[in-house]
Amino acid sequence: MNDEMEEIIAEFITEAEESLDRIEPLFVELEQKGEDKDLINDIFRSMHTIKGAAGFLGYQLVVDVAHSSENIMKKLREGEIALSKELMDVILKSIDMLRVLLEHIREKDGIEEDVSPLVSELESVLSDAVNGQGAAADGAEADNQTEPGPQEKTVSAESIQVQNVTEDACPAPEAVISSEQESHPEASERSKVVPEPETATAEEPQQNGTAVKNAPAVPPKDHGQKLKEKSAQNLRVDVERIDKVMDLAGEVVLVRNRLLNLCNYFDQKYNDDPQSESLTETVSFLDRVTSDMQLAVMRIRMQPIKKVLGKFPRFVRDMSATLNKDVELVITGEGTEVDKTVIEHIGDPLTHILRNSIDHGLEPTEDRIAKGKPSKGTVKVDIYQKGNQVVIEVSDDGKGMDINKLKKKAIDKGLITRDEAAKMTDEAATDLIFMAGFSTKEEATELSGRGVGMDVVKNNISMLNGYVEISTEKDAGSTFRICIPLTLAIIQALMVEVSGEKYAIPLSPIEETLQVSRDEIDNVSGQNVIVIRDRVCPLFELNDLLHTGGNGSDRADNKYIIVISMGDKKYCIAVDKLLGQEEVVIKTLDGIDTSTSFVLGATITGDGKVVFILDVTGISRNLVEITKS
C-alpha cells in the first residue's frame, strides 16, 4: 500500500471517529427533545458520509452497517417512522460496531467482525417501525405542509423553468436511473410516492442541522456567516509536526535559560559598559517573547475537553437504564481547554469515576424518596482552570461514603490492619478505594465490575502528573476532584542539591520548604519521620530514593526538607541545598525505567548541565512500599 493511501486511510479513521464522537451525544439529546429534525438530519448526514468514504476505500462492513443505520435515520427524517427506544438502541449499537470496525482497520489486524446479526437487527427494527407507523407518517407529512418554507415555492418554480433546458441536455443520468431501478425497488418506489416539491423541502432542515453541529449556541438564523468564517480558519495538522514545534520551543526555553545565566554574569562583570545594559535589555525581551511563544505553542496542543465528555450523556443514559436509577448529568465548563495528551488519557478514568458515582454514590430511587431527596439523582461534572492546573470535579448528590464500611472492607481484604484502620483519618480512609484490590466482586454490578478498580483511575491520573482527591459527606454526596497540570512538557521546578548533584523537583505539589535541625527528625520503627504542625510525615533522603549511594551531608546539623503534598498524602524529602526556581523542559529518558526509578525525565539547566527531574507522583504512589523497605 502506498503512503498516500495509508494517509488517506488514517485520515478516514480519524474523521469517521470524530463524526461518531460528535453524533453519539446527539442521540441522548434526541431522546430528550423528541423528534428534532435538525438532530436527525445531522446524524443521518454523518452516517451517510462515513458510508460514502468507506465505499471508496473498500470497507464493505463499514458500508453495510452505516447503510442500515442511515436507512433508519432517513425514514425518521422523512417522518415515515417514529422515534422509539428500540430504534435508538440499535443505532447506538451500530455506532459501537462502527467503532470496532474502525479499530480493526487502524490495527490492520485483519479481523472480520460478523456484522450480519446487527444488520438484520437494524433491518428488522426498521421494518417493524414501518409496519407499525402508518399514522405517524401521515402526521409528519401534515407537519411538513403546515410549515412550507419560503424556499419551497421558489425552488419548485425554478425546477420547472430549468427542466426544459436540461431534460434532454443530460440524458446520461436518467438512463442510469431507469437501468438501476430494478436493483433498488425501494428507491424507485419512493420517487413515485414522494412528490417532487417535497423532496426539495426535505433539504431545508439539512441547512439548519449544522447549527447543532458547529455552534450550538448560535441561533439557526445567523449561523451561516459565522460558520463560514470559522471553518475557513481551521487547519488540520499532523500532531507530529506540532510536537516537533513544541520540542523546539522547549529547546529555545533551555537556551533562553542559559542565556539569562550568562547575561547575569556579564552584567556583573562589565556593569559599567553601556553595551552590557542593552544586552540585558535584549535578553529580557527574548525572555518575555520565549515565554509567550511557549504558551502559544502549548495552546496549539490544547483542545476543549468537550471532546471527551461527548460520550458521557449516552453512558449515563445506558447506566441509568441498566441500574434503574433516574440520573441527571450536568456538565459545566466543557469548553475548558486541556493538553491533547490529557484528552487522550482522561476519558477512561473519568468514565470510571462517573460509573462509580452512579452505581455506588447514588442511592436507589426508593431510598432517595425515603430520605426525602428528589427521586432523580444528579451527577455533576465541572471543569475549570485554576492557576496552571485544570480541575475536573465529579460530584453526586448520593449517600456519601461510609468511612467505617470502607475501613472494614479494607481490613477484610487484608489491605490494612485493624490497628492502621483505627489510626486512619477520614481523608485517608476515603483514599482506600484507590488501593489495588479494593474493588470487590461482592458489590460489582454489571457496569462497575469490569475488572478495573479505582486504583487504575489513580494511576492513569498520576501518569498525567496529576492527582485525585475525594471529599464526601454522609447523605449529601461525594466529590472526586482531579487536578492536572496544564502542560506536560514544561514545568516550574525547584532546583535542589544533594551530595553535590543538582536535581529538579516539580513545583506544583510542593507545599512548603523548611529548614529543620537534626533533633526534630524522629525514627519510628526504622522510618524517619518529622512532625509538621502536629502531623507526622515520613521523611526520605533524596539519595535513598534514587539509590545513588551518596550519603548527603548527614553530619550537617541543619537540613532542608521539602514538603510534598498530593491529595491528602504528605511526605518530605531531605536535601542539602535549595538552589532556586527554574522553568524546566521535561525530556524523556531512553533506557531508564521511569516507573520504578522515581525519575520523571531530565532537563538541561541554565548552566548547561543535565539534571534529573524527580517523579514526586511516583514516590507518593509507592509511599507504602518505600516506607516498608
Partner: protein, 135 residues
C-alpha cells in the same frame, strides 16, 4: 478532450472524501485543485473567479450541494460553471431534482478514476456540442 489546465473546486464536508476525489482528479491529469468544505465556502471561492469545474458532494452542512448548484445557476458571473454532483445510490430519487436545477452530470459513490473521467468527458463533450450549435 478534457482541458486539464482547468482549475477544479472539490466540495465536500468530509476531508477524507475531498482527498479521495482530489486524488482521482490527479489521476485523470488535473493539477490545479482547490477544496471547499461546504456550499457557502464553495460559492465564495467560485465568485472570486478562476474556476472551470466543480465536483461537489450533495449532503453538506450550511449549504448543501443542491442549494449551491441553484445559487451558481442564479449568479450571472458563474452560471455556466460545469458542475458534477457526487451522490450516494440512496439519493437517486433526488437526482431528478438536481437535473432540474441544472446539474451537468452526476456520479454515484464509490467511483473510480475512469468513471469520473467518463462523466467529465460527457460534460465537456456536451458543452462543446452546445457551443457549436450556438455559433
Amino acid at each position: 478532450m478534457l482541458d486539464l489546465s482547468l482549475k477544479v473546486l472539490v466540495v465536500d464536508d468530509f476531508s477524507t472524501m475531498r482527498r479521495i476525489v482530489k486524488n482521482l482528479l490527479k489521476q485523470i491529469g488535473y493539477s490545479d485543485i482547490e477544496e471547499a468544505e461546504d456550499g457557502v465556502q464553495a460559492l465564495s471561492k467560485l465568485q472570486n473567479g478562476g474556476f472551470g469545474l466543480v465536483v461537489s458532494d450533495w449532503n453538506m452542512p450550511n449549504m448543501d450541494g443542491l442549494d449551491m448548484l441553484k445559487a451558481i445557476r442564479h449568479d450571472a458571473a458563474i452560471k455556466d460553471m460545469p458542475v458534477l454532483m457526487v451522490t450516494a445510490e440512496a439519493e437517486k430519487e433526488k437526482v431528478i431534482t438536481a437535473i432540474q436545477a441544472g446539474v451537468n452530470n452526476y456520479v454515484v459513490k464509490p467511483f473510480t478514476g475512469e468513471i469520473l473521467k467518463e462523466k467529465l468527458d460527457k460534460i465537456f463533450d456536451k458543452i462543446a456540442s452546445d457551443q457549436k450549435v450556438n455559433t
